[in-house]
Amino acid sequence: MHKSFFAAATLAVFLIGCRSVDQRRDQQLSRVAKDWCLTIRASQVLPVYPLTEDLQVGDVFLVSAPLEEEVDELEKDGFLPLDNVIARVQPTGWQQFYNGSYGIADTAVLPKQWQFPQPPPSAPPLTAWSTAPGAAFPSYTFQVKEGAGATLAIPIQSVPVGLSLLETGDAYGTVNVSNASTYGLPITLLSPQIDTWAAENQKFLSQFGPATYKDKRGRDKHSQHYVRVVYRVYVAGGVSVSLIANQSRGGRLDAGASKSIALFDAGDSTEAANTAKNYASVISSLSQSVASATPGANVTIASASSRSVAMNETFPRPLVIGYLAFDRAITASGTLGPPLPTHARVTGQSIGASTAVFGSDSNADRLRAWLTPGNRKTLEAWLAKNAAATSVAVFLNGSQFELLRAKAVQELGVGQ
């Protein structure tokens, strides 16, 4: 009886412990992923997560989540899911926009000419992204605590490799996006091409027209679908990762097969003359060891000491890390409303517009009831700061202003 009780209690403690470790790891994973995404977002770019090569200018997505849910997702996860792709429009107008620069001719098909250059190169780099317009991102700083670094959510492999080399799970480091490129089209060139595509698919789009439904409390809610059109993407060829151990100790984490690697030590003064030679040799052998231990990762060691390691990771093929897009509301007849910048829309930034697809809500009713002549001037002054060139009527009735109306009600103290 006592034995079975003791065994059950031990098992319970073990399971609770496992769950606790899992929860801690989940928290760590989501935090690191979010930090990565926030770095990309800090550059006014919407992050792609996980990284992919298969995202292009002209990709069209169906956005069905209500705006407030998208805002929540962006704040919680750091990125917007791109799961409902409905079309890939092959845009034209590259030559007009780039005027022959970056090897873009009349017959250019982007990004194909950079992804698969002709004739195909026989040696790396196998792509021609180096001829595309360049881009740069701020460095990303992160910290890894013991017990959570082995399966980092950050979409690069250098971090677990570095942790393994340092034989620590407690480190901090920086990630620099390297060999970044970008290309895109202006909305004025791309949006009319989306109109042409929408006209050909009007019947399909009409299924996603605006609708009114009751929420859990029985209140009328307005649902509005959008098409999200990618008009610029940012591509990275690799990353440079620097890791510094908070302290060298046990709790080793391995990426792939475990390898015993002696890290660089300058030694005493009598060996100083050979330091440079030895260092280069150690770095070379480290890189070879890493390559053999992690066949999937193209990681080379740039520098190393017993407390730090710097690595360059080259992606086998450049990957899209971020994008810019615009949203167009779908009307009941399957036509599309005016283009609205996605980033501004989901972050509640100023979006001026003189045209809108109808979409009013309870906040619009509150504002109408509040609009005395004096308050109208207050609202107009507020709109000048938050949605320049937007009239009160368009602001009250446009679906894209749902978030801004909530902001106005809050900031102007409407109905309080």
Binding site: A332, S354, F358, A393
Partner: protein
């Protein structure tokens, strides 16, 4: 010019009133093939 499209029939009056309150001098109300309305203010 300001324009709002996709207005349900029950909401047209309120949108027109909003434009009038904004000082619009000329309003055009059109019905789309799907039955919704477009209000254009000049």
């Amino acid at each position: 010019m300001s324009e709002i499209t996709g207005i349900p029939a029950t909401e047209v009056g309120r949108v027109v009133q909003d434009f009038i309150n904004d000082g619009a001098r000329q309003l055009v109300v059109e019905q789309a093939p799907d039955g919704s309305y477009t209000v254009t203010a000049h």
